[in-house]
């Protein structure tokens, strides 16, 4: 479904991604973790061309992201993306946040788009807030709206860029619950997160990055079960975040 082939990226002379290769199959949940500044957010953003890359190739469902001939808006509309800071549109109501791209990009009739928005809001438990504006919602509620907004486009896969790291601790679970449900339904997901509980519960594979390189790329059971076989850097990381 999503395939990274030897992707490298530079900011000027500083290399942020070095020769990254991995893939996410249909229905697979892949968690990307690693210390901050390791390039995990950058990697996930290259998948829908929000971040350009200079070397290598990325394919989404067989379509090359980097090729100049690729219709990027169309490609992006098929990949859902959830951001660390939600990025709901503050000047639009929740309903409009969910229906705008359905109408403008997918060309759905307004009525159908609103119907879809309603059923998705119900699914994330926010039907009561349909006419509110994002600023009137809590962080956890905003992030659930953001997930619903991405799902409204009926994406082939979902990308999550640290979806819970800007939330108050008490709101983390309401967002994770939605993501767990989504994973259980078979959604293809690539998730950058530090929530190792989430990784344990639903991930199929775990990717560990450090200094722009993919250091570990293994099954969840190997990652958490056979820590002794992991690289020193991953061991250090795990010992720090799993010890409490």
């Amino acid at each position: 479904m999503i395939e990274f082939k030897n992707v490298s990226k530079w900011y000027g002379s500083f290399q942020v991604l070095t020769d990254c290769s991995t893939s996410v199959s249909k229905g697979e949940v892949v968690v990307v973790c690693g210390p901050s500044g390791s390039g995990k957010s950058t990697l996930i953003k290259t998948a829908n061309a929000l971040e350009p890359f200079q070397q290598g190739e990325i394919f989404i469902d067989g379509i090359s992201v980097g090729a100049p001939s690729t219709n990027l808006p169309k490609l992006r509309s098929r990949i859902g993306m959830v951001f660390q800071h939600f990025e709901l549109f503050p000047h639009l109501s929740v309903m409009r946040n969910l229906s705008l791209a359905q109408i403008k990009v997918l060309g759905r009739p307004e009525k159908e788009a609103m119907e879809r928005a309603r059923s998705l809001l119900e699914r994330v438990g926010l039907s009561a807030h349909i006419d509110k504006y994002p600023g009137q919602l809590s962080g956890g509620q905003q992030q659930r709206v953001a997930i619903a907004r991405a799902l409204a486009m009926d994406p082939l896969a979902m990308l999550f860029d640290e979806p819970t790291s800007a939330l108050d601790p008490e709101m983390v679970n309401e967002v994770l619950d939605v993501m767990v449900d989504l994973a259980k339904e078979g959604m293809t997901m690539m998730v950058v997160t530090h929530e190792m509980g989430f990784a344990r519960k639903v991930a199929h594979r775990v990717i560990f990055m450090d200094e722009g390189k993919i250091v570990e790329d293994c099954t969840k059971d190997d990652f958490f079960g056979h820590v002794d076989q992991r690289s020193d850097r991953a061991k250090l990381f795990l010992s720090k975040i799993l010890s409490h």
């Binding site: 990027l72 992006r76 951001f83 549109f89 791209a101 403008k104």
Partner: protein, 229 residues
């Protein structure tokens, strides 16, 4: 107040307001609308990653902001007929009338200032908003039209309105083209009846009251409009 005749203000008010003030307000409103549209396009060009596009816009803005308005008013008054004649292949200059000429001048001149305001407005929108728009599959124009510009306008409304008040005062410069704006009409009466002191005091008072009331309104608006994020 011996020797002054303030009655003249009442007697000539219909002319001064219905002819003069209507012209001034029409010019202010149309020029503001035109300048905001052109200024917004210039701001989008200025922020383009294409160096030629942003350079063109930057050159335009810096050029016009470096020249006195009155010079540009003269310039365009004489140039516009030739430009229209050339565009329409008429072979001779086409007279466009004082109002049209003044309107074009103010749109082109003020666009340079509105460009800088809109540029700040667009840059005030977090980059993540643009990313979110693109991630949903919207294209550049859709992201601008539905997401960035509505927020930028909202953030910048007080500044845009303040610039509009400046424009309202600047329109009085059209007297150099012998157009009958508010000040022009007051001046006509003043010259005809020899009542310079009365009419110019009156004109100053009207400009002051309108501008002051408008800027107070903008202040109040500013307080009420702080955006909820």
């Amino acid at each position: 107040m011996h020797g002054f005749d303030f009655e003249i203000i009442w007697r000539t008010a219909p002319y001064v307001f219905m002819t003069g003030m209507v012209f001034t307000i029409k010019l202010t409103v149309f020029a503001t609308i035109g300048a905001i549209i052109l200024g917004t396009l210039l701001a989008m060009m200025r922020l383009s990653s294409n160096r030629i596009v942003s350079g063109l816009s930057g050159g335009y803005v810096n050029f016009l902001r470096a020249l006195p308005l009155i010079l540009i008013i003269f310039w365009f008054y004489f140039l516009v007929p030739y430009i229209f004649g050339w565009i329409l292949q008429a072979g001779h200059p086409i007279s466009v009338g004082g109002f049209t000429s003044a309107l074009i001048t103010f749109v082109l001149f003020e666009a340079a200032y509105f460009c800088e305001i809109m540029r700040a407005g667009i840059q005030s929108i977090p980059r993540g908003q643009i990313g979110a728009g693109y991630a949903l599959g919207l294209n550049y124009w859709q992201v601008m039209w539905h997401i960035v510009l509505p927020q930028a306008f909202r953030n910048m409304t007080p500044v845009l309105l303040t610039q509009m008040i400046v424009l309202f005062q600047d329109t009085s410069l059209v007297y150099v083209l012998s157009l009958t704006d508010f000040l022009g009409a007051a001046n006509n009466v003043a010259q005809r009846d020899g009542r310079l002191v009365e009419m110019f005091i009156f004109a100053a008072l009207v400009y002051f009251l309108i501008s002051y009331a408008a800027s107070r309104t903008v202040k109040r608006l500013e307080r009420r409009m702080a955006i909820v994020r």
